[in-house]
């Protein structure tokens, strides 16, 4: 709060921008490249002001050429720079997938360890702003299928600020997915952010009755649901995965072994979502510790509709989390599956 000298209130957008500014100041090899990162002020205003501060060489507006400039980022990384490539949204990243999956993810291996690719690729992700089917993908969990790249999903201001630095220090390609509904989120943060890692999941709330596993903007829905549940005598442990590849399975397995129940909340489409992988790993490694089957709450398997009531109906909601958990804790086979 403003009256506390060590604290301040910031938006997720500002925290991300601060992370960029610090990275640019810290290392001359770092530059930011993407559509409208400079003169326009950034699609989500994250990079606003950086052009004036660092100039057009280091805040580099690109044409609409996703495959081209992502590939150039990869090449520049191999060539000794530390590019931060911004793809405006995950939807457009499908145009650059060949460069990410066929090139960035394979080079180290194909060259027998000779050429690593220290590129960072940031993009926004997520639904919830009525942007319809071509602007609402949540594919970070899908990207997590690809070996050779690392996938981060910062849900907090601390993470969206702090994950950038370790990502830049990482010798391999790192993709950072910022959820677009979070940009306006305000949180109280310390005057100086502290460092974070890009290898572990984080327990946001300790609980004993059920484990809620999630990532990205759904974290807040899970925390909401946990607050409701506590009033009803159910204590949920809430885990923010933070890193989608490689998964920190120790954290969620330990939690599930303790609570004996788990619900995974994943904004991705259900079939083949990251939630399936987590469920499968719990199956394989904690089956005998379970009191009930692991359940999943995901997005409806539809291209995202524009109308608000339909979009909200397609997304996981706190009420549904609460209802599912109450059924799970009540026991029996009561959860419906479509």
């Amino acid at each position: 709060m403003a009256d506390d000298n060590d604290k301040r209130t910031l938006s997720y957008r500002e925290a991300a921008g601060e992370g960029l500014r610090e990275a640019l100041n810290r290392d001359e090899r770092v530059f930011l490249m993407g559509e409208d990162v400079g003169r326009y002020g950034g699609c989500f205003a994250v990079s606003k002001g950086l052009l004036a501060e660092f100039g057009p060489e280091r805040i580099r507006d690109t044409p609409l050429s996703e495959s081209g400039f992502v590939g150039i980022g990869i090449g520049a990384a191999v060539g000794g720079m530390r590019p931060i490539v911004e793809i405006m949204t995950v939807n457009f990243s499908l145009l650059a997938l060949d460069q990410i999956v066929n090139h960035a993810a394979t080079l180290l291996h194909m060259s027998g360890g000779q050429f690593n690719v220290p590129v960072v690729i940031r993009m926004s992700t997520g639904a919830g702003n009525q942007l319809a089917a071509q602007h609402s993908h949540r594919l970070e969990g899908w990207y997590a299928h690809i070996p050779g790249i690392k996938i981060l999903a910062p849900a907090t201001l601390e993470d969206v600020h702090g994950m950038l630095q370790p990502a830049l220090e990482d010798p391999d390609p790192v993709l950072i997915f910022e959820h677009s509904v979070l940009y306006n989120l305000q949180q109280e943060v310390p005057a100086e952010f502290s460092a974070v890692d890009i290898s572990t999941a984080r327990i946001h709330r300790v609980g004993s009755d059920v484990t809620l596993i999630t990532y990205g903007a759904s974290l807040y829905k899970c925390l909401d649901a946990a607050a409701t549940l506590t009033e009803q005598g159910i204590e949920a442990e809430v885990i923010d995965l933070r890193v989608l590849r490689p998964l920190d399975e120790t954290t969620f397995l330990n939690s599930v072994r303790k609570t004996r129940r788990a619900l995974i909340v994943d904004e991705g489409w259900r079939s083949g979502s990251l939630s399936a992988e987590i469920s499968a790993r719990i199956m394989e490694q904690a089956f005998y510790d379970l009191d009930a089957p692991v359940e999943r709450l995901c997005s409806a398997e539809v291209p995202m509709p524009y109308a608000q009531h339909m979009e909200q109906a397609a997304l996981p909601q706190p009420e549904a989390i609460v209802a599912m958990i109450k059924r799970m804790v009540a026991g029996g086979d009561g959860v419906d599956h479509e």
Partner: protein
């Protein structure tokens, strides 16, 4: 770009001349109302306005046949209106009502209408071009005599999909008219920051595609060029690339702070407002007097009001229908 305009009387009879003014007025008023409704949160998501560019679509779409196809971008309200999609169904779409032309599932960026062969409403920049070439291939293989017209911004030309679609359309001599609406900016990126070669006709030549560049603020130039381009495509001579130099008077979308251009530049372009200058020309030529102009504005206002009324009166699709239209109902 061509320097001189054709004479109005060589292009239009009196009724047609006035009809074009009515069309441009409808486009303008419809979008002004949309902007208002966006501020009133009746319309949500992204809203991209065409204000300033009206002479482009108005100079072209009326010369297509009703069964020709049109493919457009997220900045497509006006193209849809001109192709015959009703103002009411577009407004209802932007409200998210099931009476909307895309049943409320598409919103402003995804207008579709099978009846008028309006094929969207696409929001991945460049993505509509292969689709349009594909429609053209279907028409060619089925000998329908139809042609297809795809609209896109100059920014889209840096995308690989432009390159591939142009080459394929030319290689296979497909009946497709590529219309580049060069409004100088792609969001905040000026043409010379996006294209190493800003003479866009050189790009058309690199695919062996016939091309022409016209003043997109001048309805007469656009009209004349469109008729020629359409007859080129319809006669089986392959694709055509028409560049229309224009300007958007408003922000890229409702979220744009317009940091990337000077107010003075915008003001200068507004001096060439196609609606005003064409209206003045008509008055000067005696095609319509003040009273007729007033009546025209009143008719348009009525159409827009009716569209809003229709949208307001529309209904929300049942949530139970959420998973419809992922796969066809058979």
């Amino acid at each position: 770009m061509e320097k001189t305009s054709p004479k109005l009387t060589e292009l239009f009879d009196r009724d047609t001349a006035v009809e074009r003014l009515r069309q441009m007025t409808l486009l303008r008023r419809f979008e002004e109302k949309s902007a208002e409704l966006y501020s009133a949160t009746k319309i949500r998501g992204f809203l991209h306005l065409y204000v300033g560019q009206e002479a482009v679509a108005t100079g072209i779409i009326p010369y297509l046949n009703p069964d020709d196809g049109v493919v457009a971008t997220y900045r497509e309200h006006c193209h849809a209106l001109l192709k015959g999609v009703s103002a009411a169904s577009i407004m209802a779409e932007m409200y998210g009502k099931q009476e909307g032309c895309s049943r409320g599932r598409g919103g402003s960026m995804h207008l579709f209408d099978a009846a008028s062969r309006f094929y969207g409403g696409w929001a991945i920049v460049g993505g509509g071009m292969p689709l349009a070439a594909g429609l053209a291939l279907a028409d060619k293989m089925q000998h329908t005599g139809r042609i297809n017209c795809v609209f896109f911004g100059e920014g889209a030309m840096a995308e690989g999909e432009f390159h591939e679609a142009m080459n394929l359309a030319s290689l296979w001599q497909l009946p497709v008219l590529f219309v580049c609406e060069n409004n100088l900016y792609a969001m905040g990126t000026r043409l010379d920051l996006s294209e190493a070669q800003t003479d866009l006709s050189q790009k058309a030549a690199s695919y062996n595609v016939a091309s022409r560049a016209v003043d997109g603020m001048d309805l007469l130039q656009v009209t004349e060029a469109a008729r020629q381009a359409i007859s080129h495509v319809r006669s089986g001579q392959g694709p055509y690339f028409l560049e229309c130099r224009t300007y958007r008077f408003r922000a890229h979308s409702m979220f744009d702070a317009e940091l990337y251009r000077e107010k003075a530049e915008v003001e200068q372009w507004k001096q060439r407002d196609p609606l005003l200058s064409y209206g003045q020309l008509l008055q000067k030529l005696g095609c319509l007097d003040d009273a007729a102009l007033e009546q025209l504005e009143a008719d348009v206002a009525h159409e827009v009001d009716e569209a809003v009324r229709y949208a307001e009166a529309g209904s929300w699709e049942a949530v139970e229908d959420l998973s419809r239209f992922v796969y066809s109902e058979t």
